[in-house]
Amino acid sequence: MSFSEAYSWINIQFLLEGLLITVEVAFYSIIFSVILGFILGIIRYFDIPVISKITGWVVDIIRNLPLLLIIFFTYFALPELGLSLDVFWSAVAAMTIFEASMISEILRGGLKAVPKGQTEAGLASGLTRIEVMRYVLLPQAARDTLPSVVSQLIALIKDTSLATIITLPELTHNAQIIYGQDTAYVIPMFAALAFFYFIICFALSLFSKYLARTIAFRASEL
């Protein structure tokens, strides 16, 4: 196998360009989906009449669809709703919609898991419900769900590979172009893909484990 040829500087550069797109898409998607996910999670936690119900249905539907479908749909259907994004922003939009739904569910779980007594203590001291959310519940839920949220963000990074289906020139897409042009490079390209994704995701997962451990440590110092 021609590893050295496969890893010619030109090919490496091309892979790195793809990696850059992967990272960029992931970056924007992470920011937007965390913000949107928090907003949706809070709306659902609060049980606001009608709004929370509808939000819940929409989130449930999105969470239960394959991301592949959502990516495809975003690229081809959003323009029909008057929002035409290029392939990059379509990918970001699809990731955001999907991962925000997942994150909102995580956060809602996290909020529900904060002991009821915390809300009561806040209310009993005269804080409003919003203040209780802002100062008491949200910081705790955010802290407790951080590891799960990071895991979801790892999933997000891996999921960017699906955007190859709408020809987003990200890492997987570019690797496919290289081995599609010369099939002798198939193994080197899969090795490169595994390497890049693994490095990023594993580093993040170590970080998430570290967070989980420090949190557990703090909580056990009773």
Binding site: N64, L69, L162, T172
Partner: protein, 216 residues
């Protein structure tokens, strides 16, 4: 959309059934492999632990698509022939089992240490303690996360479409291309996925609520 369904229902039905088959086979095999891996992750033997950890960490942190494509493209090119359908099942199994392993491991660890101690202090063997005391409790704890893994598995099975896996998404593409009606076709396909995943989600949520109440 009704028209689409009327005309293409045999294809979509086949895709639906294949998606179900893939999901069930991959679920069962990843449950078995994942449970074994999860228990081995807690093994006293460091070499075993390391090997299992490498497996789990490696496949968790690589996109499913890459693993599936590997079995579809690379393995047949150099070693043995595997169809898209089989490559999909293998990839899904490996990927999902690495998550299930972690769920099982975490489940075992959430059984309070006192349970292990109580059983040991009555003179039971390690293996008996696992079999009669720890695993039955861990399973209860692990059931909701396993439900979520299954839902993910069903959704993830859509990558088979990219390797001629003959699943629902694959036939959805086919119908969309033949009718040029991308919009309606994908909505229809989405609805069919929801037929599988929504009930699973509600069941999992019920289970979560039920087990949560018992915990108090």
């Amino acid at each position: 959309m009704i028209g689409l369904l009327e005309q293409y229902w045999p294809l979509l039905l086949e895709g639906f059934i294949n998606t179900l088959i893939v999901s069930i086979i991959a679920l069962l095999s990843s449950l078995i492999i994942g449970t074994i891996m999860g228990m081995l992750q807690l093994s006293a033997n460091k070499i075993v632990r390391t090997i299992v950890n490498i497996y789990v960490e490696f496949f968790r942190n690589i996109p499913l698509l890459i693993t599936v494509m590997f079995f579809y493209v690379v393995v047949p090119m150099y070693w043995m022939n595997i169809s898209g359908f089989a490559a999909g099942i293998i990839g899904l199994t490996i990927y999902t089992s690495s998550f299930i392993a972690d769920n099982i491991r975490a489940g075992i660890l959430t059984v309070p240490a006192g349970q292990m101690e109580a059983a040991l202090s009555q003179g039971m063997k390690q293996i008996q303690v696992m079999r009669y005391v720890i695993l039955p409790q861990a399973i209860r704890i692990v059931l909701p996360p396993l439900g979520n893994q299954f839902i993910n598995l069903v959704k993830n099975s859509s990558v088979l479409a990219m390797v001629t896996g003959l699943d629902l998404m694959y036939y959805g593409d086919f119908v969309a291309m033949e009718t040029f009606n991308t919009f309606d076709t994908y909505i229809l396909v989405g609805l069919i996925y929801l037929v599988i995943t929504l009930p699973l989600t509600f069941a999992t949520r019920k289970l979560e609520a039920k087990l949560g109440v018992n915990d108090n």
